[in-house]
């Protein structure tokens, strides 16, 4: 895993006074209202809130999928809002693995090809070695036996496992997951969560959006988002 920070240095994720306003035509809508947040390496953070509270917008700020209207987003010392789209894509591919609620696997690529795609884009590993790495990751999420199937042949839970493997393809220090269990049955959701816990134990930093109360209760740190603000920051074993 690349070391983005050294012990005692700045936090891995830092958001300062982040505001995000959407122009919806008649009245502008402010999704984030000056959010401040820091996340240390190895933390497992849950962003919890109702639909429309701003949690997805917040995780999009962290992944660089969306840009703030004002404020700073610094990840591993990089102020990402200052990066061009091209550099941001490259940075994201190497730094953050993104997991979506609806899996978002490319339908025309097989499972293993989907996992290899980020390596291909970011030129990680030698081309001949990529498939072996991808199969190793699939083994890790127990999907190696499905490696050469198309996504359409898999169940939702299986697709999400593949999506997690893809998120890990370039061995990023951070995983950002937007409702990764929102589209799964409880049993499958449990196994995905366990996978995340194992990753955190291996040193990954995970930021996960969820509105599932049970899962929220099990994360190390739960940030409650309401009306574009973090209204509560609860760490397991006590309030922050």
């Amino acid at each position: 895993m690349p070391a983005l920070v050294t012990p005692g240095s700045d936090p891995l994720i830092s958001l300062s006074s982040v505001v995000k306003t959407y122009d919806t035509g008649e009245v502008p809508f402010t999704a984030l209202k000056g959010v401040d947040l820091t996340v240390e390496p190895g933390e497992f953070v849950g962003l919890i809130g109702k639909s429309g509270s701003g949690k997805t917008t917040l995780i999009n700020m962290i992944t660089g999928i969306d840009r703030p209207s004002s404020g700073d987003v610094v990840i591993g010392g990089t102020p990402i809002q200052r990066l061009s789209e091209n550099r941001l894509a490259m940075w994201r591919g190497r730094t953050i693995g993104v997991v979506f609620q609806f899996f978002q696997l490319l339908p025309t690529l097989t499972v293993v090809e989907n996992v290899m795609l980020p390596m291909d884009f970011c030129d990680v590993h030698a081309p001949r070695e990529r498939e072996a790495f991808a199969l190793d990751l699939l083994e890790h999420v127990e999907m190696a036996d499905q490696a050469h199937k198309l996504p359409a042949a898999l169940s939702g839970g299986q697709q999400q496992r593949v999506a997690i493997a893809r998120a890990l393809a370039n061995d990023p220090p951070i995983l950002a997951a937007d409702e990764p269990t929102g589209n799964l049955d409880s049993g499958t959701a449990e196994s995905v969560f366990e996978l995340f816990e194992a990753l955190v134990e291996r040193g990954k930093t995970i930021v996960m959006v969820t509105h599932d109360g049970d899962i929220a209760a099990r994360v190390e740190r739960a940030l409650h988002v309401r009306d574009g603000e973090i209204v509560d920051d609860i760490r397991r074993g006590g309030r922050a």
Binding site: G25, N60, T63, G64, I65, D66, R67, E85, N86, A89, M90, R92, G93, R94, V98, F100, Q104, L106, P107, T108, L109, E113, N114, M116, L117, P118, D120, F121, C122, P127, R128, R130, E131, R166, A167, A169, N170
Partner: protein, 809 residues
């Protein structure tokens, strides 16, 4: 070899979306096809002309004279400035197909069984030694032809079924007949193609000419001047000098001279017009194909938007994604080339054979020239890449969050514009119809491009109808000018009283009038001459023409040196009413005053003069060279029958007839000539229509694909297969209707511009007539085609299952 996943995605996208791939490939292929047919066909024609015309060693000038012998040819050949002089003997004879030597009268039955036709026979003393205006035997035809044989010019096949081995029966001046065997065909690029002249051209020996009782002397002096850099005026001056200094002194009369623009073909103007049309068509096809590609690539990107977002989310850079999309588009181009190139080459050759056959350009290459193939390949790759560049540029720069949020239900984009709001206010429509109407305007950019393609195609179709209408009106206007049925031209001046009286004796003739026609040369200010003119002497009160005065006035009985000119002459020589011109007529220069201008009658540049004055001027003493007759049967068959009887009657009297021609047949020949241009326009309209139909089908397929999720919603709330089908057919029909409206609005100026373009290209004043009938007919055709183009997409839409639709990405 390891292929990177992103390139595998490109390959899978091609294969996974076969309908989309087919649509994009067809959009590009139709452009390649059109470009290759048009430019390749034009290239083959140019190559054929560029090879065969110089190979014929075209003459600098031809003098049409009274009979002369080989001594004159030798004298002219030794004259300063003359490189080669050759003599030919030409005559027009009348023939019937088949061996009719033993067929007895009555002539009417014979006329019906095998109608008489004119053939221009040309004889050279030694065809093998001819160096100017050379003729090339084709398909193993014997060359030179033997005695009693005729080798026909290849264009004869345009108007005659005669084949090698057939025999024709020629009417001789003494009333007897003689057989000639068709020995084969030869190509003479300098001959006027049969379709244009309305008569066959045949090559014979001087012995055959004598056998046909055409005398022994030559009457065409074919010249090649040694100075290849002379312009037409320079050649004209040189030829006038030869005529005056060499030909005239030995008692040979020059009736007229043909001086072409050096290096140009007699059909050069028509070819230029055709060429301009083809280039215009090529440019339009290229543009329209580009529109189609922009449309389909934009739609493809819209479909792929979410995937673009995912790729960017997992680290894909704009440059990498751009490269993937450009590769995809290049592969589309490559596939389109595989389809368009062979098809386009085949039809380019067909088109060149067709057009080359009409223009009689002679043997042509079987494949388009290399540069046109390179152009087509470049178009196949570059047009899609250029067309895709903008949509790819904008599509790949959409933010990841916007790309990921793209859904099949694009509810945000409709409802903001004026049109959207106006459609939203429409009340009383059934819901499915309202949905179709609003869907039509949903993607305005795509609608605009589709409409641009269809409007252009529709307006071209409508304009072609108007051009055809204008040509027919031109022919009709000319027919209104001429109030006669048959024209008989005599080999020498004949007594007016005699020929008029004798013509009236022929059954069916109701009126006759003699005219005096003489060749003239206009002396220009720079010393050159236009010696392809004629002065027509006619009674000012003639009832055989209805002059259409443009400016000035018609002739009066009291006029002496007054002349009326036609618009052809005004245009070519820049003349005007009140101007005095100097004409070389019957061996002397004369002054004439222009008193009026009449519309051209498609008979070339002509001066009209008071017959009695002209007769006195040239000392013809009441003789005429032409008699016009009216008959009681105005049909082509009736006029041809009377023409045949007139020829026989005068021949029996011992009056030498140079040619007879029915007016209706003349008009038909004219319509045929101009119709060639209409044929090219129709080819243009068909190709553009094909582009339009593919464009509309493509748009509808894209619309259906993009509406897949909506279709699922409609199905989920109870819409039947038929309802979905109707929604999309109505949408296609609405686009067709809009295209018709746009096409109708554009068709008038386009028709007018096309008619004027043709007019200036062929040098013939054309009447303009806008064809409302075609516009109305197009409404039905466009409606039917647009509904038909929507059938397949609408059927596909109606078959979408709710589960598939909701799951559609």
């Amino acid at each position: 070899m390891t292929i990177a996943p992103r390139w595998r995605k490109v390959a899978r996208d091609l294969l996974a979306h076969k309908l989309r791939t087919l649509l994009v490939v067809l959009s590009i292929a139709v452009g390649i096809f059109a470009i290759l047919v048009v430019m390749g066909g034009r290239g083959i024609l140019l190559d054929s002309f560029g090879t065969n015309f110089p190979k014929s060693d075209p003459a600098s000038a031809v003098l049409y004279t009274s009979p002369f012998g080989s001594e004159l040819v030798d004298r002219v050949g030794r004259s300063p400035g003359v490189a080669i002089a050759e003599g030919r003997q030409a005559a027009v004879v009348r023939y019937r197909s088949g061996d009719l030597l033993d067929v007895s009268e009555p002539p009417a039955q014979m006329t019906q069984a095998s109608p008489p036709r004119d053939i221009s026979l040309v004889a050279a003393t030694d065809w093998a030694a001819v160096q100017v205006d050379r003729v090339f035997a084709q398909g193993g035809a014997p060359w030179p032809p033997g005695r009693d044989e005729v080798v026909l010019e290849t264009s004869s096949q345009q108007i005659s079924p005669l084949a090698a081995g057939d025999v024709v029966t020629v009417d001789l001046p003494d009333g007897t007949r003689k057989l000639l065997r068709v020995a084969g065909f030869a190509h003479d690029i300098n001959a006027v193609p049969a379709m244009f002249s309305g008569r066959l051209v045949g090559y014979v020996t001087p012995q055959s000419m004598a056998d046909l009782q055409q005398g022994a002397g030559m009457n065409e002096l074919v010249l090649s001047l040694s100075d290849a850099h002379l312009d037409r005026a320079g050649v004209s001056r040189a030829v006038s000098k030869i005529r005056d200094d060499v030909v005239a002194p030995v008692g040979i009369v020059t009736y007229s001279a043909y001086v072409p623009t050096p290096g140009s073909h007699q059909l050069g103007d028509i070819f230029k017009a055709v060429s301009i049309l083809l280039l215009a068509l090529g440019a339009m096809a290229l543009g329209l194909s580009g529109f189609l590609v922009v449309n389909t690539v934009s739609a493809l990107l819209a479909q792929q938007m979410k995937q673009l977002g995912i790729m960017k989310a997992v680290g894909g850079r704009v440059s990498q994604i751009t490269a993937m999309l450009l590769t995809l588009v290049a592969v589309y181009g490559g596939l389109a080339i595989l389809i368009g190139l062979p098809l386009g080459s085949y039809w380019a050759s067909w088109f060149a054979r067709f057009a080359g056959g009409l223009l009689d350009f002679g043997p042509a290459a079987a494949t388009p020239p290399l540069y046109t193939i390179v152009l087509a390949v470049a178009v196949g790759f570059l047009v899609p890449l250029i067309a895709a560049a903008f949509p790819i540029h904008t599509g790949t720069r959409v933010s990841v969050v916007n790309a990921l949020n793209a859904t099949g239900m694009d509810s945000q984009r409709f409802g903001h514009s004026l049109i959207d709001r106006a459609l939203g206010r429409l009340r009383g429509l059934p819901r499915p119809t309202a949905l179709s109407l609003r869907n039509t305007f949903r993607k305005k950019g795509r609608l605009a491009l589709t409409l641009a393609t269809l409007v252009l195609a529709t307006s071209v179709v409508m304009s072609v109808g108007s051009v055809r209408g204008s040509i027919l009106k031109t022919v009709s206007d000319v027919s209104q000018w001429w109030n006669y049925d048959v024209e008989v031209n005599f080999a020498q001046p004949e007594s007016a009283t005699l020929v008029q009286r004798e013509a009236l004796k022929v059954r069916g003739v109701t009126g006759a009038e003699g005219w005096l026609v003489t060749a003239a040369a206009l002396k220009r200010g720079d010393g050159s001459e236009n010696d392809q003119l004629s002065v027509v002497g006619l009674p000012p009160r003639t009832r055989f023409v209805t002059p259409a005065i443009v400016t000035g006035r018609w002739l009066r009985d009291t006029d002496s040196n007054a002349v009326v000119v036609n618009t052809d002459l005004v245009k070519s020589e820049n003349l005007s009413v009140g101007q005095t011109v100097k004409l070389h007529v019957h061996g002397a220069d004369r002054q004439f005053r222009i008193v009026g201008v009449v519309r051209g009658q498609l008979m070339g540049p002509v001066f009209f003069a008071n017959q009695s004055y002209l007769s006195a001027l040239i000392g013809s003493q009441g003789s005429v060279t032409r008699v016009l007759v009216r008959t009681d049967d105005h049909t082509i068959a009736g006029q041809d029958g009377t023409a045949d009887q007139l020829q026989r009657h005068f021949t029996d009297m011992g009056v030498a007839v140079a040619g007879v021609q029915g007016e209706a047949s003349n008009a038909a020949d004219l319509a045929n000539q101009l119709g060639i241009l209409v044929t090219f326009l129709i080819v243009m309209a068909v190709i553009l229509s094909a582009v339009g139909v593919i464009g509309l089908t493509g748009t509808m397929i894209i619309n259906v694909l993009e509406s897949t999720r909506e279709i699922g919603v409609m199905r989920a709330i109870g819409a039947s297969h038929a309802s979905i089908f109707k929604v999309f057919v109505t949408e296609g029909f609405t686009i067709g209707l809009l295209a018709w409206l746009g096409g109708a609005a554009l068709s008038w100026p386009m028709s007018y511009a096309l008619v004027r373009l043709l007019e200036s290209a062929v040098g013939i004043p054309l009447s303009f007539e806008f064809s409302w009938q075609v516009v109305v007919a197009c409404l039905f055709v466009v409606s039917a085609i647009s509904a038909a183009a929507s059938l397949l997409p609408a059927y596909n839409a109606s078959q979408v299952s709710v589960r598939d639709a909701i799951a559609y990405e």
